[in-house]
Each structure stands twice: as structure tokens, then as C-alpha cells.
Symmetry: C2
Subunit: 202 residues, 2 copies
């Protein structure tokens, strides 16, 4: 077996740790929290099933690769809850350090290719990355809706404004799904699972 | 929101159950058994990282789609342990019934497309399906090796001959990884984790 294959197998063993990085999202049956590996799979499935609503220039092949690698850095950096303002302060630094270590496990020509997929996803600028990001909002939103608003009730509660901001990319990248976002937010406000925007309440 | 989108979201919610279908494989840290959703993600990553060793006609884009859907039928049919001879007797019937139900949740033009990916994977005839199947052997083999032969010691033990048969597609579809298979089997026999072929022992 070549050193190159050994490096690749070492990387594939290392990323098994994704299965132990827990997110705030619950499984739909509420039995436990979701982990990063199964989230990444579900995100890829979401991107595949909803692909017809992506913009005409979106390349699903590229999106699927991004979905598979987009959370790898969380092996070291941990999952940062989408509505954790404090956690986001040093998220970039933590994730960059993680990327430096993880992608360097791969052969020198291959690591940078996978890292580029992660960086493109994070920058959220290309149509592919924006579609991937929109799916990365829709999959947890579906869980939130089907688990009685679970993640919105954590840590003192999430406000309507935070969710509109987080979901904005859906309106732009997958407009056909925007009514779903609007319906779920309206449901959250109606049921009290989501805190109204303080300004709107004045 | 259209009925079509509702069907697609219902399907995406239904397949969340993949996260609760347990395989015999342990996570590499041995903390628990692996589930089908995280296995499907790890399989897709394996196919992506080892793609350079696939045959020249293999289309990784198609392989990734197959990897994502290849175990969906196990939501109804359950995981059949690779070395469970009795379980394999009615595996086809159980999985076909599962496919009839699951893929019918999707719109009429989309369900058959995803089902065709699963059927291609199962038939193991096209170069894409053979590469996907080889990766579906290599990922659990890596886990078996790194968890002290765990799956080989289950249910009275697995024989060398069973593993050679199960792994044969690797030699054909990803020959560069065949030395890895040979090394792990040799290790299994040396350490007693794998039962020698009865005939070879005579």
C-alpha cells in the first residue's frame, strides 16, 4: 500500500469523529440531538431533492461535494449554534485552525481541493455556495418545525429577526421555498415558540 | 407552497429515520454502533477521497448520488448484517417493498429517478455501481480494522472465505486498494479475529 493511500485512509478514519459532534437540532422523533455526519448527509439529500428550484447556473455535483465537507472543521472547532452571538465571535479563527490541521492530513494536492470547497461554502458568494447555504438553513428549519420549535426555545429564546436574517439566503437562492420559511416563522410566532422582534412589538 | 414541494419536504422528513437504523459497525472510538445516515455520508466521502483509483469511466457525480440513497430502503427493511446468511434470504423482498413505499412519497417524476439509483447500486453491474459497492466494503473494513475486528467476532464469528467473497468487488473496481484488503485479512487471521476457512485448515 502506498503512503498516499495510507494518508487518505488516515483522513477517512479521522473524519469518523464527525459522528460525535452534536448539533442543537433534534432528530424529528426527538430521541436525541443530531450529529454533524448525519446532518451532512441530510443536507446533501435536501440539495438533491430540491435541486429543481436552484438557479439555472447551480451545479448540483459541486453542491453535493460542498455539503459533504462543509462541517468537517467542526471536528476540532465544535458546532456553533446558529443563534449563539458569543460563539460566532471567534468561530472563524477556530474553524480556520481546524482546517489547517484536517485538510493537511490528505496528500498535498488533494487537501487544498477539499479545503477550497469548505472555503467556498463559508464565503457564501457563488451561486453554488448560496444554494448549499440555503439548503443548510432549510434542513434544520424542517426539524425545528417538526420538533415543536425546539431550537428556537434554547438559551433564552430566539427572536423573529434572528430567524429572518438567518433564512434570508433562502429567498435569494431558492425562492420557491420562501413560502415555507414564511409559514414556519408565522407558526412560530402564533404558537409562541419564536419571540417577536422587540421593535415590532413596540 | 405547492403540493409538489410539500411532497418533497414530507420525503425529506421521512428519511430522517435513517439516523435511527443501526448497523453492526462500531464508530472508530467504539462508543456506539453506526447508523445508516452517517454511514451514507462516510461512504460518499470515501468515494470522493479515493476517486482517483476508480476506473476511467466512473462518474463520481453519479456515484455520490448512489451513495446518498443506497441504504434508504433500510428505513423499512432494516440493516441486514453483511455476514448474516439467514437475513439475506428475504432481503430482496423486504427492500423492494420498502422502495415501493418510500420513493412513492416523492412526486411521480422524481421518485423513479431516485429509485433507479438504488436499483443500479443493488445490481452492482455498471462501473459506477461497482465502484460505489467497493467503497461500501472499504469503509466498514476500515472500521473493523480500527475497532479490533469487532464485526468479525459477532454471531459465532465470520470466516476468511466470507470476507474474501464480500471484498471481491474491491479487487476488480479499486485494485489500488486491494493490498489494504489483503493486509487487513492477514491481520485478522494473525490475531484470531477472523476464523480461517475450514477447508484451508484441513
Amino acid at each position: 500500500m502506498t503512503d498516499r493511500i495510507q494518508q487518505q485512509l488516515d483522513f477517512l478514519a479521522e473524519i469518523d469523529k464527525m459522528k460525535s459532534v452534536l448539533r442543537q437540532t433534534l432528530l424529528i422523533d426527538r430521541s436525541r440531538r443530531e450529529n454533524d455526519a448525519e446532518h451532512s448527509w441530510h443536507l446533501a439529500m435536501t440539495a438533491m431533492v430540491l435541486a429543481e428550484y436552484a438557479g439555472p447556473t447551480v451545479d448540483l455535483n459541486h453542491v453535493l461535494r460542498m455539503a459533504l465537507v462543509h462541517d468537517l472543521v467542526e471536528i476540532d472547532a465544535g458546532d456553533t449554534f446558529a443563534y449563539d452571538t458569543a460563539g460566532y465571535a471567534d468561530k472563524d479563527d477556530r474553524e480556520r485552525a481546524a482546517a489547517d490541521r484536517l485538510f493537511a492530513l490528505l496528500p498535498g494536492d488533494q487537501g487544498p481541493m477539499l479545503r477550497a470547497l469548505w472555503e467556498e461554502f463559508e464565503a457564501m458568494e457563488t451561486p453554488d455556495a448560496r444554494y448549499a447555504a440555503a439548503c443548510d438553513r432549510l434542513q434544520p428549519l424542517l426539524h425545528t418545525y417538526l420538533t415543536d420549535g425546539h431550537t428556537w426555545t434554547l438559551g433564552g429564546g430566539v427572536t423573529e429577526e434572528q430567524v429572518w436574517q438567518r433564512m434570508a439566503v433562502v429567498e435569494d437562492a431558492v425562492p420557491a421555498l420562501w413560502p415555507f420559511v414564511q409559514e414556519v416563522i408565522a407558526w412560530g410566532l402564533r404558537t409562541g415558540k419564536l419571540r417577536p422582534d422587540p421593535e415590532a412589538a413596540q
